[in-house]
Protein backbone atom coordinates (compact mmCIF):
# COMPACT_ATOMS: atom_id res chain seq x y z
CA UNK A 1 0.00 0.00 0.00
CA UNK A 2 1.99 2.93 -1.26
CA UNK A 3 1.76 6.20 0.58
CA UNK A 4 1.53 9.35 -1.55
CA UNK A 5 4.09 11.61 0.11
CA UNK A 6 3.88 14.60 -2.22
CA UNK A 7 1.97 15.84 -5.27
CA UNK A 8 3.57 18.75 -7.09
CA UNK A 9 3.11 20.63 -10.33
CA UNK A 10 5.97 22.54 -11.88
CA UNK A 11 6.33 24.31 -15.21
CA UNK A 12 8.92 23.17 -17.72
CA UNK A 13 10.73 24.93 -20.53
CA UNK A 14 13.97 24.34 -22.39
CA UNK A 15 14.64 28.03 -21.74
CA UNK A 16 15.41 27.14 -18.10
CA UNK A 17 18.63 25.80 -19.59
CA UNK A 18 19.04 27.76 -22.82
CA UNK A 19 18.56 31.09 -21.06
CA UNK A 20 19.27 29.98 -17.54
CA UNK A 21 20.86 33.17 -16.35
CA UNK A 22 19.17 35.72 -18.58
CA UNK A 23 16.34 36.80 -16.23
CA UNK A 24 16.96 39.24 -13.39
CA UNK A 25 18.88 37.71 -10.49
CA UNK A 26 15.90 37.87 -8.14
CA UNK A 27 13.81 35.85 -10.60
CA UNK A 28 16.53 33.24 -10.95
CA UNK A 29 16.90 33.04 -7.17
CA UNK A 30 13.17 32.69 -6.61
CA UNK A 31 12.63 30.05 -9.28
CA UNK A 32 15.73 27.98 -8.68
CA UNK A 33 15.25 27.92 -4.90
CA UNK A 34 11.63 26.85 -5.31
CA UNK A 35 12.53 23.98 -7.65
CA UNK A 36 15.45 22.94 -5.45
CA UNK A 37 13.07 22.93 -2.53
CA UNK A 38 10.70 20.58 -4.35
CA UNK A 39 13.54 18.16 -5.04
CA UNK A 40 14.69 18.26 -1.43
CA UNK A 41 11.15 17.77 -0.17
CA UNK A 42 10.72 14.62 -2.26
CA UNK A 43 13.91 13.23 -0.77
CA UNK A 44 13.22 14.31 2.81
CA UNK A 45 9.80 12.68 2.66
CA UNK A 46 11.50 9.45 1.69
CA UNK A 47 10.01 9.03 -1.79
CA UNK A 48 11.26 5.79 -3.31
CA UNK A 49 9.45 6.30 -6.62
CA UNK A 50 8.42 9.36 -8.59
CA UNK A 51 5.45 9.23 -10.94
CA UNK A 52 5.66 12.03 -13.49
CA UNK A 53 2.71 13.27 -15.52
CA UNK A 54 4.39 14.92 -18.49
CA UNK A 55 4.31 15.23 -22.23
CA UNK A 56 6.63 14.71 -25.13
CA UNK A 57 7.20 17.45 -27.73
CA UNK A 58 7.85 15.37 -30.89
CA UNK A 59 11.19 14.10 -29.66
CA UNK A 60 10.22 10.63 -28.43
CA UNK A 61 7.10 10.34 -30.58
CA UNK A 62 6.00 11.58 -33.98
CA UNK A 63 2.78 12.00 -35.95
CA UNK A 64 3.22 8.58 -37.55
CA UNK A 65 1.95 6.95 -34.34
CA UNK A 66 1.50 9.59 -31.69
CA UNK A 67 0.13 7.95 -28.53
CA UNK A 68 -2.62 9.68 -26.60
CA UNK A 69 -1.13 8.11 -23.49
CA UNK A 70 2.21 6.43 -22.92
CA UNK A 71 3.81 4.85 -19.86
CA UNK A 72 7.50 4.10 -19.48
CA UNK A 73 8.62 0.71 -18.15
CA UNK A 74 12.36 1.29 -18.39
CA UNK A 75 15.22 1.02 -15.91
CA UNK A 76 16.67 4.27 -17.19
CA UNK A 77 15.68 7.20 -19.38
CA UNK A 78 18.33 8.91 -21.51
CA UNK A 79 17.81 12.39 -22.86
CA UNK A 80 16.54 12.83 -26.38
CA UNK A 81 19.33 13.61 -28.84
CA UNK A 82 17.34 16.42 -30.44
CA UNK A 83 17.78 18.65 -27.39
CA UNK A 84 21.51 18.38 -26.99
CA UNK A 85 21.60 21.40 -24.69
CA UNK A 86 19.73 19.50 -21.96
CA UNK A 87 21.93 18.28 -19.11
CA UNK A 88 22.52 14.54 -19.13
CA UNK A 89 22.66 12.27 -16.14
CA UNK A 90 25.24 9.54 -16.70
CA UNK A 91 23.45 6.32 -17.54
CA UNK A 92 20.14 8.16 -17.85
CA UNK A 93 17.67 9.10 -15.17
CA UNK A 94 16.64 6.07 -13.13
CA UNK A 95 13.39 4.36 -13.97
CA UNK A 96 11.13 2.23 -11.78
CA UNK A 97 10.36 -0.55 -14.23
CA UNK A 98 8.34 -2.56 -11.76
CA UNK A 99 6.03 0.31 -10.91
CA UNK A 100 5.76 1.23 -14.59
CA UNK A 101 4.63 -2.27 -15.49
CA UNK A 102 2.25 -2.32 -12.56
CA UNK A 103 0.69 0.97 -13.63
CA UNK A 104 0.31 -0.23 -17.23
CA UNK A 105 -1.71 -3.21 -16.03
CA UNK A 106 -3.69 -1.12 -13.58
CA UNK A 107 -4.52 1.40 -16.30
CA UNK A 108 -5.65 -1.35 -18.66
CA UNK A 109 -7.92 -2.56 -15.89
CA UNK A 110 -9.27 0.99 -15.62
CA UNK A 111 -10.14 1.15 -19.34
CA UNK A 112 -7.06 3.12 -20.41
CA UNK A 113 -4.92 1.85 -23.27
CA UNK A 114 -1.41 3.23 -22.79
CA UNK A 115 1.43 2.74 -25.21
CA UNK A 116 4.01 0.72 -23.28
CA UNK A 117 7.43 2.26 -23.73
CA UNK A 118 10.59 0.14 -23.49
CA UNK A 119 12.98 2.49 -25.25
CA UNK A 120 11.99 6.13 -25.09
CA UNK A 121 14.15 9.10 -24.37
CA UNK A 122 12.87 12.03 -22.35
CA UNK A 123 12.79 15.66 -23.37
CA UNK A 124 12.74 18.96 -21.49
CA UNK A 125 9.28 18.18 -20.11
CA UNK A 126 10.99 15.94 -17.59
CA UNK A 127 14.62 16.91 -17.87
CA UNK A 128 14.32 20.67 -17.25
CA UNK A 129 12.33 20.56 -13.99
CA UNK A 130 14.20 17.52 -12.67
CA UNK A 131 17.50 19.25 -13.34
CA UNK A 132 16.44 22.40 -11.49
CA UNK A 133 15.23 20.13 -8.67
CA UNK A 134 18.76 18.78 -8.30
CA UNK A 135 18.11 15.57 -10.26
CA UNK A 136 16.86 13.68 -7.22
CA UNK A 137 17.97 10.02 -7.56
CA UNK A 138 14.43 8.72 -7.23
CA UNK A 139 13.41 6.20 -9.92
CA UNK A 140 10.75 7.66 -12.18
CA UNK A 141 7.74 6.41 -14.10
CA UNK A 142 6.89 8.78 -16.96
CA UNK A 143 3.21 8.96 -17.84
CA UNK A 144 3.06 11.01 -21.01
CA UNK A 145 -0.13 12.52 -22.37
CA UNK A 146 -0.52 13.94 -25.85
CA UNK A 147 -0.74 17.71 -25.52
CA UNK A 148 0.95 18.56 -28.83
CA UNK A 149 -0.36 16.46 -31.72
CA UNK A 150 -4.04 17.01 -32.52
CA UNK A 151 -6.48 15.48 -32.12
CA UNK A 152 -5.95 15.69 -28.36
CA UNK A 153 -7.94 13.51 -25.97
CA UNK A 154 -10.75 15.36 -24.16
CA UNK A 155 -9.50 17.04 -21.03
CA UNK A 156 -11.69 14.88 -18.81
CA UNK A 157 -9.47 11.93 -19.69
CA UNK A 158 -6.62 13.59 -17.83
CA UNK A 159 -8.72 13.82 -14.70
CA UNK A 160 -9.85 10.21 -15.00
CA UNK A 161 -6.24 9.21 -15.49
CA UNK A 162 -5.23 10.83 -12.22
CA UNK A 163 -7.96 8.97 -10.36
CA UNK A 164 -6.93 5.66 -11.94
CA UNK A 165 -3.28 6.14 -11.01
CA UNK A 166 -4.18 7.08 -7.44
CA UNK A 167 -6.36 4.02 -6.98
CA UNK A 168 -3.64 1.82 -8.41
CA UNK A 169 -0.99 3.28 -6.11
CA UNK A 170 -3.18 2.79 -3.07
CA UNK A 171 -2.99 -0.98 -3.48
CA UNK A 172 0.58 -1.16 -4.77
CA UNK A 173 2.94 -3.16 -2.59
CA UNK A 174 6.17 -2.56 -4.47
CA UNK A 175 7.04 0.90 -3.22
CA UNK A 176 6.34 2.35 0.17
CA UNK A 177 6.40 6.05 -0.56
CA UNK A 178 5.56 7.65 -3.89
CA UNK A 179 5.94 11.26 -4.96
CA UNK A 180 4.05 12.67 -7.94
CA UNK A 181 5.08 15.50 -10.24
CA UNK A 182 3.01 17.09 -13.00
CA UNK A 183 5.15 19.08 -15.38
CA UNK A 184 3.72 21.59 -17.86
CA UNK A 185 1.58 24.69 -18.29
CA UNK A 186 0.44 27.37 -17.66
CA UNK A 187 -0.21 29.57 -20.75
CA UNK A 188 2.49 29.72 -23.39
CA UNK A 189 2.81 29.99 -27.15
CA UNK A 190 5.56 27.88 -28.68
CA UNK A 191 6.44 28.09 -32.34
CA UNK A 192 3.28 30.02 -33.14
CA UNK A 193 3.13 33.59 -34.47
CA UNK A 194 2.45 34.65 -30.85
CA UNK A 195 5.76 33.12 -29.72
CA UNK A 196 6.55 34.03 -26.12
CA UNK A 197 3.19 35.52 -25.18
CA UNK A 198 2.02 35.06 -21.58
CA UNK A 199 -1.66 35.31 -20.59
CA UNK A 200 -1.56 36.11 -16.88
CA UNK A 201 -5.33 36.39 -16.67
CA UNK A 202 -5.79 32.87 -18.03
CA UNK A 203 -3.05 31.59 -15.74
CA UNK A 204 -4.79 33.15 -12.73
CA UNK A 205 -8.11 31.55 -13.65
CA UNK A 206 -6.57 28.10 -13.87
CA UNK A 207 -4.41 28.47 -10.79
CA UNK A 208 -7.27 29.88 -8.70
CA UNK A 209 -9.46 26.90 -9.56
CA UNK A 210 -6.69 24.55 -8.47
CA UNK A 211 -6.05 26.51 -5.26
CA UNK A 212 -9.74 26.42 -4.39
CA UNK A 213 -9.96 22.67 -4.92
CA UNK A 214 -12.20 23.33 -7.91
CA UNK A 215 -10.06 21.58 -10.50
CA UNK A 216 -13.14 19.77 -11.81
CA UNK A 217 -14.47 23.08 -13.15
CA UNK A 218 -11.70 22.91 -15.73
CA UNK A 219 -13.31 19.80 -17.17
CA UNK A 220 -16.12 22.02 -18.44
CA UNK A 221 -13.70 24.13 -20.46
CA UNK A 222 -13.99 23.78 -24.22
CA UNK A 223 -10.90 23.27 -26.34
CA UNK A 224 -11.33 26.91 -27.39
CA UNK A 225 -11.12 28.07 -23.77
CA UNK A 226 -8.03 25.95 -23.22
CA UNK A 227 -6.46 27.29 -26.40
CA UNK A 228 -6.80 30.81 -24.97
CA UNK A 229 -3.73 29.75 -22.99
CA UNK A 230 -1.83 29.09 -26.20
CA UNK A 231 -0.76 25.77 -27.61
CA UNK A 232 1.27 25.24 -24.44
CA UNK A 233 -1.79 25.81 -22.25
CA UNK A 234 -2.88 22.32 -23.23
CA UNK A 235 -0.33 21.06 -20.75
CA UNK A 236 -2.73 21.83 -17.90
CA UNK A 237 -3.86 18.29 -18.65
CA UNK A 238 -0.93 17.05 -16.58
CA UNK A 239 -1.93 19.38 -13.73
CA UNK A 240 -5.45 18.02 -13.84
CA UNK A 241 -4.12 14.49 -13.51
CA UNK A 242 -2.21 15.54 -10.40
CA UNK A 243 -5.23 17.36 -8.99
CA UNK A 244 -7.41 14.30 -9.49
CA UNK A 245 -4.76 12.01 -8.03
CA UNK A 246 -4.60 14.19 -4.91
CA UNK A 247 -8.37 13.84 -4.59
CA UNK A 248 -9.54 17.12 -6.07
CA UNK A 249 -8.21 18.85 -2.98
CA UNK A 250 -6.92 22.44 -2.84
CA UNK A 251 -3.38 23.12 -4.01
CA UNK A 252 -0.98 25.54 -2.39
CA UNK A 253 0.67 27.94 -4.80
CA UNK A 254 4.43 27.77 -4.25
CA UNK A 255 5.39 30.05 -7.12
CA UNK A 256 3.99 32.15 -9.93
CA UNK A 257 6.54 34.32 -11.64
CA UNK A 258 5.85 35.56 -15.17
CA UNK A 259 9.16 35.69 -17.02
CA UNK A 260 9.04 36.88 -20.62
CA UNK A 261 12.55 35.57 -21.28
CA UNK A 262 11.36 32.08 -20.37
CA UNK A 263 8.07 32.48 -22.28
CA UNK A 264 5.80 31.64 -19.34
CA UNK A 265 4.70 32.33 -15.82
CA UNK A 266 6.86 29.91 -13.88
CA UNK A 267 4.40 28.03 -11.71
CA UNK A 268 4.76 25.50 -8.92
CA UNK A 269 1.93 24.01 -6.89
CA UNK A 270 1.63 21.44 -4.16
CA UNK A 271 -1.61 19.61 -3.48
CA UNK A 272 -2.80 18.58 -0.07
CA UNK A 273 -3.29 14.85 -0.49
CA UNK A 274 -6.84 13.80 0.31
CA UNK A 275 -8.11 10.49 1.66
CA UNK A 276 -8.07 7.35 -0.50
CA UNK A 277 -10.38 7.54 -3.50
Amino acid sequence: MAKIVAVFAAAHTPLFLLRRNDPEQNVQDEVFSCYEGIGKTMISRGADALVIFGNDHFHAFFLDRYPSLAVGVQLAYPNVTSESYMPEVEGGRLGDRKLGRYLVNALLDSDFDPAVCQEISIDHSLVSPLHLMGDPAIPIVPILQNTVAPPLPPIRRSYQLGIAVRRALEVYRGAGRVAVLATGGPSHWIGTPELGRINEEWDAKVIDLLREGNSKHLLEWSQKEIDAGGNGGNEIRTWLSAAALAGGTPADLLLYRPEPLWFLGVTALEWRVGPPL
Binding site: L18, H57, F58, H59, F62, L63, D64, T81, S82, E83, S84, N146, T147, V148, A149, P150, L152, W189, I190, G191, T192, P193, E194, L195, G196, Q223, K224, D227, G230, N231, N234
Partner: protein
Protein backbone atom coordinates in the same frame (compact mmCIF):
# COMPACT_ATOMS: atom_id res chain seq x y z
CA UNK B 1 -0.24 13.84 -47.29
CA UNK B 2 2.07 16.64 -48.18
CA UNK B 3 1.71 18.34 -44.81
CA UNK B 4 2.56 15.06 -43.15
CA UNK B 5 5.65 14.64 -45.32
CA UNK B 6 6.74 18.17 -44.52
CA UNK B 7 6.27 17.61 -40.80
CA UNK B 8 8.23 14.39 -41.14
CA UNK B 9 11.14 16.12 -42.82
CA UNK B 10 11.26 18.90 -40.20
CA UNK B 11 11.05 16.26 -37.49
CA UNK B 12 13.84 14.12 -38.91
CA UNK B 13 16.34 16.92 -39.26
CA UNK B 14 16.05 17.83 -35.59
CA UNK B 15 18.12 14.72 -34.82
CA UNK B 16 21.87 15.22 -35.15
CA UNK B 17 22.61 12.31 -37.50
CA UNK B 18 19.90 13.21 -39.98
CA UNK B 19 20.64 16.90 -39.71
CA UNK B 20 24.29 16.27 -40.53
CA UNK B 21 23.25 14.30 -43.62
CA UNK B 22 20.80 17.04 -44.59
CA UNK B 23 23.34 19.79 -44.18
CA UNK B 24 26.03 17.86 -46.04
CA UNK B 25 23.86 17.46 -49.12
CA UNK B 26 20.37 18.99 -48.90
CA UNK B 27 19.37 18.04 -52.45
CA UNK B 28 20.31 14.40 -51.94
CA UNK B 29 18.36 14.38 -48.66
CA UNK B 30 15.30 15.99 -50.24
CA UNK B 31 15.26 13.87 -53.36
CA UNK B 32 12.32 11.50 -53.55
CA UNK B 33 10.35 13.12 -50.73
CA UNK B 34 6.65 13.71 -51.26
CA UNK B 35 6.89 17.51 -51.18
CA UNK B 36 5.59 20.17 -53.52
CA UNK B 37 8.00 22.54 -55.21
CA UNK B 38 6.74 25.33 -52.94
CA UNK B 39 7.52 23.23 -49.87
CA UNK B 40 10.95 22.29 -51.20
CA UNK B 41 11.71 25.96 -51.78
CA UNK B 42 10.55 26.82 -48.25
CA UNK B 43 12.88 24.18 -46.80
CA UNK B 44 15.81 25.31 -48.93
CA UNK B 45 15.26 28.94 -47.94
CA UNK B 46 14.39 28.27 -44.28
CA UNK B 47 11.13 30.10 -44.92
CA UNK B 48 9.31 29.57 -41.62
CA UNK B 49 6.27 31.54 -42.75
CA UNK B 50 5.57 29.14 -45.57
CA UNK B 51 6.36 26.16 -43.35
CA UNK B 52 3.80 27.46 -40.85
CA UNK B 53 1.20 28.04 -43.56
CA UNK B 54 1.79 24.54 -44.91
CA UNK B 55 0.88 23.11 -41.54
CA UNK B 56 4.14 22.28 -39.82
CA UNK B 57 3.36 21.74 -36.15
CA UNK B 58 4.50 24.75 -34.09
CA UNK B 59 6.55 22.60 -31.69
CA UNK B 60 8.50 21.21 -34.62
CA UNK B 61 8.85 24.69 -36.04
CA UNK B 62 10.26 25.95 -32.74
CA UNK B 63 13.00 23.32 -32.76
CA UNK B 64 13.62 24.13 -36.43
CA UNK B 65 13.94 27.79 -35.46
CA UNK B 66 16.45 27.01 -32.71
CA UNK B 67 18.64 24.73 -34.85
CA UNK B 68 18.68 27.29 -37.62
CA UNK B 69 19.52 30.06 -35.18
CA UNK B 70 16.58 32.23 -36.23
CA UNK B 71 16.14 34.82 -33.48
CA UNK B 72 12.80 35.18 -31.72
CA UNK B 73 12.20 38.67 -33.11
CA UNK B 74 13.00 37.52 -36.64
CA UNK B 75 10.71 34.54 -36.18
CA UNK B 76 7.80 36.70 -35.02
CA UNK B 77 8.45 39.12 -37.89
CA UNK B 78 8.39 36.25 -40.39
CA UNK B 79 5.00 35.13 -39.07
CA UNK B 80 3.57 38.62 -38.70
CA UNK B 81 -0.15 38.87 -39.43
CA UNK B 82 -0.71 35.17 -38.83
CA UNK B 83 -2.20 33.55 -35.75
CA UNK B 84 -2.38 30.25 -33.94
CA UNK B 85 -6.11 30.90 -33.82
CA UNK B 86 -6.53 30.93 -37.60
CA UNK B 87 -5.82 27.22 -37.44
CA UNK B 88 -8.08 26.69 -34.45
CA UNK B 89 -11.09 28.07 -36.26
CA UNK B 90 -10.59 25.43 -38.91
CA UNK B 91 -10.43 22.78 -36.23
CA UNK B 92 -6.80 22.21 -37.03
CA UNK B 93 -5.33 23.40 -33.75
CA UNK B 94 -1.80 22.35 -33.18
CA UNK B 95 -2.54 21.81 -29.55
Amino acid sequence: MSSYSLNKLVHEIQFPDKRARFEADPEEFLSGLDLTSEELTAVREKDVRTLWLKGVNPYLLRVYQLWNKIGDEDYRAALKGLSFYDFNEEGDSSG
